[in-house]
Amino acid sequence: MRLRLESRPQTLTIVRGMLGGVAEPLSIDPELLDDLKTSVSEACNNVVLHAYGGEAGPMEVGLFVGEDRFSVTVADRGVGMPVPPPAGDISQGIGLSVIRALTQDVRFSSAPGGGTEVEMDFAVRRDGRKLFKAPPPATADAELPATVNGEVVVSLSPVTLLPGVLGRLARTLAATAHFSLDRFSDVYLVTDTLAAHAASAADAQRIEVHLTAQDRRLELIVGPFRKGTGSRLDVRSSEHPASPLVLLSDEVSVREAGDAELLQVVVIDHRR
């Protein structure tokens, strides 16, 4: 799974939300989840504070889970490798010590074209017990066309991880876009339905979601889906009622993307 977003103060909430969203489908041990959230927060904080001199800039968080691997990468395209703090300075640089203490291994590398990537490996077992359930192997197909661009982009494989992640991310963004709890609650139903649609209509092993939120408006673009599947969401008859997705969204549109299609969903909080 890969999450692309801008480094801003609310970034941490979004990243931690994503980790919370995969915790359930992957049955992540609570202690591992805590270590994961703490270490990843340290790494992201470092990007937010230092990579772009206090400004926002692009960053990417990757989560790779296999039978014998649980790794997270945090990458930026900023000013490069953080300099280790001077020895004895206790107020700076404990982030790295925290990461070292909570992970099995941590590596830094310079990304091609500038920037830094931190790769953290976490223990997969404790006392002989596996700390998570590995998903089926991921595939690398299906990037959405470059014309689609959201503020937060998550690409994940297998598609079964979508329900938890999509819900958490959409709600986090709706919260930061000042949705009232009424409309915020509708977002649950919208993402539930969208995830259910993806379960039967996804075109590939990998699915991508673009999320953009501001001023009580949340936009989701999800895909790729098999062609023609989107139209079945809006058939209204007593036998096939309209999907809650259509009923609760301000806008649902199907966009073509090569041999597949994307769904674009807009939810607005119209309260006065």
Partner: protein, 264 residues
């Protein structure tokens, strides 16, 4: 060398500030570890307490009181000071961080990690529901997450987690008084159905489907109020006398029932 700033809380320890002035940490370690000079240890604790404080803060939040965690972290700090091997040539902080984190993790493990996290979340969920009612009553609309966070002095993430918990709370005691239309508890639902015949309208059938007939009365009703009558969840909550959070749960359950029926 950074020296600790003196906040009132840090001065609770009976250290004698100034005695060690600019004495280097290394000297203090020798005095404590080799000569048993307790004042040297107190001074080290004093100097590195901000480190313990920072680490404790990473594990606090609404779920554990910060003071408790600071105490645990301070204990870890003392252990680290006792065990630190000057001869290794590493900075004390890079030795202290894992020791203090280990202490914090042990604390959570002893509490029972799996038990303690949800319990904190339950308490927060109740607080968030209460705050939601109070703020709604005050402003006549459902509050936003940042408003709740500010009111409760929680982080946005804590409020989001609490909302997750509240909604995941299925057969909750909160839902209990309103049974699925059976017995006395269903009275309100049934009488409501009586005075609003449009619930069985063609509009309803087209919007939420014939399958909705198979749903419990309350779920069908809430679906109709939301989708046919376009009421907000807060309006529905007022209308049928439950909380918005309960309306949200009922809706979510109803929709999942509907899709189960549709899939046969």
């Amino acid at each position: 060398m950074t020296t600790a700033t003196h906040s009132p809380q840090q001065l609770r320890r009976p250290t004698r500030p100034g005695v060690f002035g600019q004495v280097r940490n290394e000297v203090l370690f020798v005095r404590w570890q080799q000569d048993g000079d307790r004042q040297a240890r107190d001074e080290l604790v004093h100097r590195f307490l901000p480190l313990a404080r920072k680490l404790a803060r990473r594990y606090s939040g609404a779920r554990e009181p910060f003071d408790d965690l600071l105490q645990v972290a301070s204990l870890g700090l003392v252990k680290a000071i006792d065990r630190f091997d000057l001869g290794r040539g590493t900075a004390f902080s890079s030795f202290a961080v894992p020791t203090i984190l280990g202490e914090l993790k042990r604390y959570f493990r002893d509490l029972g990690w799996a038990v303690h996290v949800p319990r904190g979340a339950q308490e927060r969920a109740v607080k968030v529901e209460d705050a939601q009612q109070q703020l709604s009553a005050r402003t006549n609309r459902a509050p936003t997450v940042p408003e709740l966070a500010e009111y409760l002095e929680f982080s946005i993430e804590d409020v989001l987690d609490a909302l997750e918990t509240a909604r995941a709370h299925h057969a909750s005691s909160l839902d209990a008084p309103y049974d699925d239309g059976e017995g006395e508890s269903g009275t309100m639902v049934e009488s409501f159905g009586d005075h609003d015949p449009s619930l069985q309208s063609a509009d309803e059938r087209v919007t939420i489907g014939v399958a909705a007939r198979q749903l419990p009365a309350r779920e069908r009703e809430v679906l109709a109020l939301r989708f046919v009558h376009d009421m907000t969840q807060t309006q529905i909550a007022d209308h049928i006398g439950v909380s918005q959070m309960q309306v949200s749960r009922i809706l979510r359950r109803a929709i999942s029932h509907l899709s189960e029926i549709a899939e046969g």
